[in-house]
């Protein structure tokens, strides 16, 4: 439910009722009843009409709508004074007020029918004279409040929830002097008597409407209009030359008497004499109505944007600030869960809608503006509507009518636009003077208007028409009609002053037009000359011959020639390109090079614009004495008898005639070289009766090998298996069987392979160890150490990749020392720096002691696992991607001798180091262990107070139930546990949807306290409407087991879409971790499929619920 309250306007509200609202309630929601909103939950039946005066909001019900939910809409209580169309309890009987007080005036203007009664009418100084008729009470009360207002004390009104009207100074009606709310950018907080509104503010200040003088045009017309004016005491702004800026605003207020014009002027000056402050706040504090209501003042402090007023001092969070005081002019607020929404019917019966309304969750929007902006309705007429207002500086001179220069020029032409013959007329005229004989110095433009007189001066004579008989002329009416269906209305053209000519194209040919012209000057309002006397002009006639037509298509029988023409010309532009004034084609026959003349004419074919527009070729058969080797030419003739050049000749031949026009043939056998057809209907089409062949029949397509065995069978017959065998000689090298099994030799895939819904690349390949990254080995002994210094023996380097784990490991390293009991350390050092030295980071090491001097013992091994993870800082066990430079060293730590790494003189045990990629990153399993408590097995946390090490789990949860539901919500039992999605008209269930359930208790128990790493949903689609697959629509539900009805309130549908789902195909897709977390508080217990977001067949598909290929959730988590 959302409520919009606007100062001085009726606002609006909307309530959405749940689908399960009882009919008994809905039937009682009568129009013009009242909706009542109260914070918190009470029983409205107990409180009754007492709620009206105390509720947060009361509105009038006047609109009902229905989609998935029932929607009620209405207006605020000021509706009862007159609605937005100024309908209402109109004051039809004049209300005459003479020297009336404010309270008496308001009381007299209340709705005569009693819809609103007087509430608290505060005292306002002054009296009022005026008459109100044909106005709504709102218009009248607005006006009276405006008259009683002063710049310092605006007077307003409001309609209360109990349909009483309060009116008076705004300081009495609203919290103006001591606002209870403050807006400070990026600060919220709350003092004892002042609440900061948290949220996002949009601030603006402008002087677009600034005026320092207002002139009011009151009642009257023309020179009798009464006026009033008010000017600002001072002007704080200067123009470029240092003068006070001057902005005078003209306000029309036709209902204002002379007594009130100055007051209205002062009132309007007050509206516009200051910068305009606008501020909008989107606040997450949904219940702001406790501290601010529409009409209340509010503090705003943002010095950077000019929202500061040195005259206002306010302490805010310990500091004194100087905020500006503005008024709330609009509130848009949602009604959230847990409020009381009641309805009072027109009979006074109370209904509790609280269980049925749909709560909203949006922000509250507070619009704050200048308090003066709330003044309205007193002077909103546009000045231009006032009769006979002389424009300032009006020009009293009027132009004379211009005179055309006659005769006009006219000519016909071939119009590319119309593909027809058209005329153009060229006009010119002389520049006029004013009626007082003065020169026109403020000319603005000319207006030329013209129209057809319906008089057509066609050049009809018998010479033109002699080639036609009456049938060929095709009409007993006007024989050569150019389109002449024209309107009687004038068409007006405008020409800028200084230009004295105009060309009017696209006119009918040989038609008479009437022309008039007048001059218009630039005065405001403009002065126009009278229209000139009419001048008549007949447009030019058609003297243009049609283009040469293309050659005809000719066929002949033994006795006649058949001529077909597609009305194209020879320009190559295609068929049907002859001009639209085409009337007919002359057909001439003769020898190979004959000239078309009267003696060669064998007939005519009617061809006109209908053929051209409808792209209908003309066809006619002419009896001629000789049909073999006859040449045909055609001549195009237009409606005015103009003839084109003859077309190129076309030759006829008898051989081609008789096989034409066979619409049906029945034969026991047809032998043909090439048989061409759009389609062939046959019981079976075979390339051979036996042996290797292809056969098409009602079952499908079969390929047989040389032995007559079926190698490929593609069929739509469900009782016959499909299979494809690919052979190399007599060896089958690849096959696809009816059960979907594919066997082949080698597969090449450009992108990826999905195995049981999992990507080979991203799910399998990336998770495997990649093995050796680097290897170093020496068959020779190392250098000998010197003293106690650390000897650098072997260097090696390798690249590491982000997101991987590695080990560096040496082989058995033999230390050959020359002094017993000396101690040595074998180390591996490493660094990302290019230079690795014996002072680089120590990665790992091991110590050995010489127990048999000058022999190849003892042995030592150095091994070091580490990771490459750029998402965390580098450390001794983590390096970022790049090259890691390492060094194998040996140092004496105790004793006196020297030593080397030995290979037994290149005989055995080489000195070797290998670096292995051991797999992708896995979480650090270490926990810090407290040594102060008894150490116990970390796998038995019950006996140890130490924390159990976090472990990584991968658990699978299979569907336990599934089902399909019709668009009506009803379960479709015939589909059992299949889960259908989308609209398929033949199914008859509308836009289908489905539910899948899991062992939610186990999921909940497993995930308690866990950190989910990822969650995947595997589904198998065994059908889509399109072979290319479809798009799955996924969501969640909270059903414990399969319900009989799908209810939207239990389903959070369309949370994720997955396009490109193959047919058939299993996909395992990653779903939001939040879905699994929601298992913990029982808001999710399973997966919802569909419905489709539209009825597009893209969404029609079927999934497996339970059984083979059943749905599965795979959750990886740490716990």
């Amino acid at each position: 439910m959302t409520i919009n309250e606007v100062s001085g306007k009726q606002g609006e509200w909307e309530v959405r009722l749940r689908d399960h609202t009882p009919r008994s309630i809905l039937d009682q929601l009568t129009y013009f009843g009242h909706i009542v909103v109260v914070p918190g939950r009470i029983n409205p039946l107990e409180y009754g009409d007492n709620l009206l005066a105390t509720a947060r909001y009361v509105g009038v019900f006047r609109e009902r709508d229905s989609k998935d939910e029932k929607i009620l809409r209405g207006a605020g209580m000021s509706f009862w004074l007159g609605d937005e169309d100024n309908k209402g309890d109109i004051l039809e009987t004049p209300v005459v007020l003479t020297a009336q007080t404010f309270a008496a005036s308001i009381t007299a203007l209340l709705p005569p029918g009693g819809a609103v009664t007087a509430g608290t009418l505060f005292s306002v100084a002054g009296s009022y004279d005026g008459t109100h008729k044909w106005q709504t009470p709102k218009q009248a009360i607005d006006y009276v409040c405006g008259i009683f207002s002063t710049p310092s004390i605006p007077v307003e009104w409001r309609v209360n929830g109990n349909a009483t009207l309060d009116a008076g100074p705004i300081t009495d009606l609203y919290r103006i002097t001591n606002p209870q709310a403050i807006m400070v950018r990026r600060e919220a907080g709350r003092d004892l008597r002042l609440s900061g509104l948290p949220g996002t503010m949009d601030m603006s200040v402008d002087v677009k409407d600034y005026s320092n003088r207002v002139v009011v045009l009151g009642e009257g017309e023309g020179e009798s209009i009464v006026t009033g004016a008010a000017s600002a005491v001072s002007t704080p702004y200067n123009d470029l030359h240092g003068n006070d800026v001057k902005f005078t605003r003209i306000v029309s207020s036709a209902a204002t008497t002379l007594d009130n014009t100055d007051a209205v002027a002062a009132l309007n000056l007050n509206r516009f004499a200051n910068p305009r402050y606008n501020l909008g706040l989107r606040s997450s504090a949904y219940e702001v109505k406790g501290v601010i209501e529409v009409g209340d003042a509010i503090y705003v402090f943002d010095p950077d944007n000019g929202f500061v007023d040195a005259a206002v001092e306010q302490y805010w969070e310990g500091e004194v600030i100087n905020p500006i005081r503005l008024r709330c002019i609009e509130l848009l607020w949602p009604v959230r869960q847990g409020w009381t929404v009641a309805f009072r019917t027109h009979t006074g019966t109370w209904l509790d809608l609280s269980p049925y309304y749909a709560p909203e969750s949006g922000d509250t929007t507070v619009v704050v503006g200048d308090p003066t902006q709330t003044l309205s309705g007193i002077s909103s007429e546009p000045v231009g509507t006032r009769p006979d207002i002389p424009a300032p500086g009006a020009d009293a001179t009027t132009p004379n009518a211009p005179a055309f220069v006659v005769p006009f020029n006219t000519v016909a032409y071939q119009s590319d636009t119309a593909n027809d013959i058209r005329s153009v007329i060229y006009l010119s005229w002389t520049t006029p003077t004013n009626t007082d004989a003065s020169s026109i110095v403020d000319g603005d433009h000319y207006e030329i208007r013209y129209r057809s007189t319906h008089t057509f001066s066609y050049g009809i004579n018998w010479a033109v028409a002699e080639t036609f008989d009456w049938d060929q002329l095709g009409t007993w009416g006007r024989p050569l009609s150019n389109p002449a269906v024209v309107a009687d209305e004038w068409v007006t053209a405008y020409v800028g002053w200084g230009t004295n000519e105009l060309t009017i194209p696209e006119l009918m040919i040989s038609a008479e037009y009437e022309f008039q012209i007048r001059a218009v000057d630039a005065a405001n309002p403009p002065n126009r000359s009278a229209w000139s006397a009419s001048t008549f002009q007949t447009s030019g006639t058609d003297t243009l011959a049609p283009k040469q037509p293309a050659a005809a298509e000719v066929a002949a029988s033994m006795t006649a020639v058949q001529v077909l023409h597609r009305l194209g010309d020879t320009t190559g532009a295609g068929d049907y390109t002859l001009a639209r004034d085409l009337h007919h084609l002359e057909v001439h026959a003769g020898g190979p090079n004959f000239f078309a003349e009267e003696s060669t004419l064998i007939g005519s074919m009617i061809a006109n614009s209908g053929n051209l527009m409808g792209k209908i070729p003309v066809l006619a058969t002419f009896q001629v004495a000789q049909t073999d080797n006859v040449w045909i030419r055609v001549i195009a003739v237009d409606s005015f008898g103009n003839k084109s050049p003859a077309s190129e000749p076309a030759q006829s031949s008898v051989d081609l005639v008789d096989s034409a026009h066979i619409s049906s043939i029945t034969a026991s056998q047809i032998t043909a070289g090439t048989l061409m057809a759009d389609f062939i209907l046959g019981a079976a089409i075979k390339t051979s009766e036996t042996g290797q062949r292809v056969e098409l029949n009602s079952e499908g397509i079969q390929l047989f090998d040389a032995e007559g065995e079926v190698a490929v069978n593609l069929t739509a017959d469900d009782s016959t298996p499909n299979f494809i065998g690919i052979r190399d000689g007599d060896e089958t090298v690849a096959a696809m069987n009816a059960d979907g099994t594919i066997a082949a030799q080698v597969g090449n895939f450009a992108q990826d392979i999905e195995i049981a819904g999992r990507s080979f690349i991203s799910d399998y390949d990336v998770n495997r160890p990649r093995g050796l990254v680097a290897f170093g080995s020496s068959e020779f002994d190392s250098a000998q150490t010197v003293g106690s210094g650390e000897a650098a023996l072997f260097g090696f380097r390798f690249n590491i990749e982000d997101g991987r784990m590695y080990t560096i490991e040496t082989g058995n390293l033999q230390v050959n020392g020359n002094t017993n009991l000396d101690q040595y350390t074998i180390r591996i050092r490493g660094t990302k720096n290019p230079q690795v030295t014996t002072t680089s980071n120590l990665l790992a090491g091991c110590g050995v002691e010489i127990w048999q001097q000058n022999t190849d013992r003892p042995f030592g091994i150095v091994k070091f696992p580490f990771r490459c993870d750029s998402t965390i800082p580098e450390s001794i066990d983590n390096f970022w991607p790049g090259t890691l430079n390492c060094l194998l060293t040996l140092q004496r730590m105790g004793g006196t001798g020297t030593a080397r790494l030995s290979t037994g003189g290149s005989l055995y045990t080489p000195i070797a180091v290998s670096v292995n990629d051991v797999g992708p990153l896995i979480p650090n399993a270490f926990v810090l262990w407290d040594t102060d408590v008894p150490v116990d097995s970390p796998t038995d946390p019950t006996s140890s107070p130490n924390p159990e090490p976090t472990r990584r789990y991968v658990d699978y949860y299979f569907a336990t139930w599934g089902g399909t539901y019709a668009e009506s919500g009803a379960y479709v039992p015939q589909y059992d546990s299949e889960v259908h999605q989308g609209h398929y008209a033949a199914a008859g269930y509308g836009n289908q949807r489905g539910l899948i359930g899991f062992d939610y208790n186990k999921i909940k128990a497993d995930l308690a306290g866990a950190t989910i790493i990822d969650a995947k949903l595997r589904l198998h689609a065994f059908h889509w409407y399109f072979n290319a697959g479809g798009t799955a629509i996924l969501g969640t539900h909270d059903y414990t087991d399969r319900p009989g009805t799908w209810a939207d309130s239990r389903v959070n549908q369309n949370q994720q879409t997955q396009a490109g789902w193959p047919k058939p195909g299993t996909k395992e897709i990653i779903v939001a971790n939040a879905w699994l977390y929601d298992f913990l508080d029982d808001t999710v217990r399973g997966i919802a499929i569909g419905p489709g977001p539209s009825t597009s067949s893209e969404y029609y598909g079927k999934f497996v619920g339970t059984g083979e290929n059943r749905a599965r959730l795979c959750v990886t988590y740490m716990k």
């Binding site: 600030i321 800082p873 926990v927 924390p947």
Partner: protein, 411 residues
């Protein structure tokens, strides 16, 4: 590889080897992404006496999060070429606590470079109006930049003069009679910006955020000149002045319900403002009818703490000394002060902008009031106070203490 130190405003963080730098193609701004990890002290993990270190991590997390949308000076010990002022566009923290063992958090700061200290100025946007008062006091609009500020400019009209005050951070220069419409502009080295700042200490540690966790009995605000701490007995507030080597204190009460009826120990305290130039702590006290707020504000360079008391129900509100000390009554002009120097050579002073009633040798009060504004401080060096530190000067400075917002502007 040794880690460096990153001084992020008032916070000390570990400096990592890498930072990400980028120029925003749309705005041209220079952006910096800095990341790192703060640990509780690992050396104290074994044995487990490491609570203090864990608390440090918690404080740092909270302060870091509250730095969003502020500008801070940042100093790098290893990449000093990046030192300068930055605006904090985004803060991300991932916290891990191994209960009873250790705590650490990975942090990431998205910063917008405002400039090195030689390329920018600090603009102090001052309110134009002085405090409304009943004494026709026109006020002294004063302002104190950070210690080390240079090129202090107020437009074509300069302040009437300065007064130098010795603080724990060094000598603070306070400009007096700043033109009413001026927004002073001044330069400062990034490593000096914090000197002379107002600050809030909780449990002995300086904090840089507001609306942070705070105990009502263990906090402190000071600006190097004045320090305010709570008392649980023999006074409600200890208000001290820096004597050059030590803090010199007096105990005060907030009165409610009688001219010398102490409000008592508050139930809660809240840091509602914690800026470099000003900090405010709000004390909340339950009363038989309703509640009382006491807002304590300390500005950079100020000789006094400003007090604003709000009561939900009208009552007698006032302030008074815990230990009676002979006063000179100038309450007709809005203030009182000690008649003679104390053992440290100072004299207490307290005042208000509104007409109030003198409480002999202790303070003043207002009857049937729902609010009381006041200031409490010291006349440093008593009879030998410097010009600008005398009683009448401080009263004028209270009246002329205007709102201040600070911004970095390109030079």
């Amino acid at each position: 590889m040794a880690w460096g130190n990153l001084t992020f405003g008032r916070l000390a963080l570990g400096e990592t080897a890498s930072v990400d730098e980028a120029r925003n193609a749309a705005t041209g701004s220079r952006n910096l992404k800095v990341t790192g990890r703060e640990w509780s002290d690992l050396t104290k993990v074994f044995p487990r006496s490491h609570d203090g270190a864990v608390a440090r991590v918690r404080r740092t997390e909270e302060d870091l999060l509250t730095s969003l949308h502020t500008f801070v000076p940042i100093l790098f010990s290893q990449k000093s070429d990046l030192d300068g002022f930055y605006f904090v566009n985004d803060v991300n923290i991932t916290t891990t606590e191994w209960v009873g063992e250790a705590r650490f958090f990975d942090w990431e700061l998205q910063l917008e470079g405002l400039g090195a200290d030689n390329t920018i100025d600090i603009e102090s946007k001052l309110g134009a109006a002085v405090r409304q008062n009943n004494f026709a006091n026109t006020g002294d609009i004063w302002h104190a930049p950070s210690i080390g500020a240079y090129a202090y400019a107020t437009g074509t009209t300069s302040p009437s003069g300065t007064v130098s005050r010795t603080s724990t951070d060094g000598t603070v220069t306070v400009y007096r009679d700043v033109p009413a419409t001026a927004d002073p502009l001044w330069g400062i080295a990034a490593n000096s910006y914090l000197l002379g700042r107002s600050r809030v200490l909780v449990d002995g540690f300086e904090r840089s955020g507001s609306n942070i966790r705070i105990t009502p009995t263990n906090w402190e605000i000071n600006n190097g000149l004045v320090r305010v701490t709570p008392l649980t007995s023999n006074g409600m507030l200890s208000i001290s002045t820096w004597g050059g080597t030590a803090w010199e204190s007096k105990a005060w009460h907030i009165a409610r319900g009688g001219t010398t009826t102490s409000l008592g120990n508050p139930e809660a305290a809240t840091v509602i403002r914690n800026d470099i130039e000003r900090c405010t702590i709000r004390l909340v006290k339950t009363n038989t009818a309703g509640r009382t707020y006491v807002d304590l504000t300390l500005r950079r360079g100020s000789r006094f703490v400003e007090v604003y008391v709000q009561a939900s129900v009208a009552n007698t509100l006032g302030i008074y000394l815990h230990t009676v000390e002979t006063a000179t009554n100038v309450i007709a002009s809005g203030y009182i002060h000690a008649a003679a120097d104390d053992a440290n050579g100072n004299r207490y002073i307290a005042g208000t902008s509104k007409t109030s009633t003198y409480t002999t040798n202790q303070g003043f009060s207002k009857a049937s009031a729902i609010f009381l504004d006041a200031f409490i401080g010291h006349i440093h060096n008593g009879a030998a106070a410097a010009t600008g530190d005398a009683a009448a000067d401080l009263m004028e400075q209270y009246i002329g203490a205007t709102s201040e917002m600070t911004a970095v502007v390109t030079r």
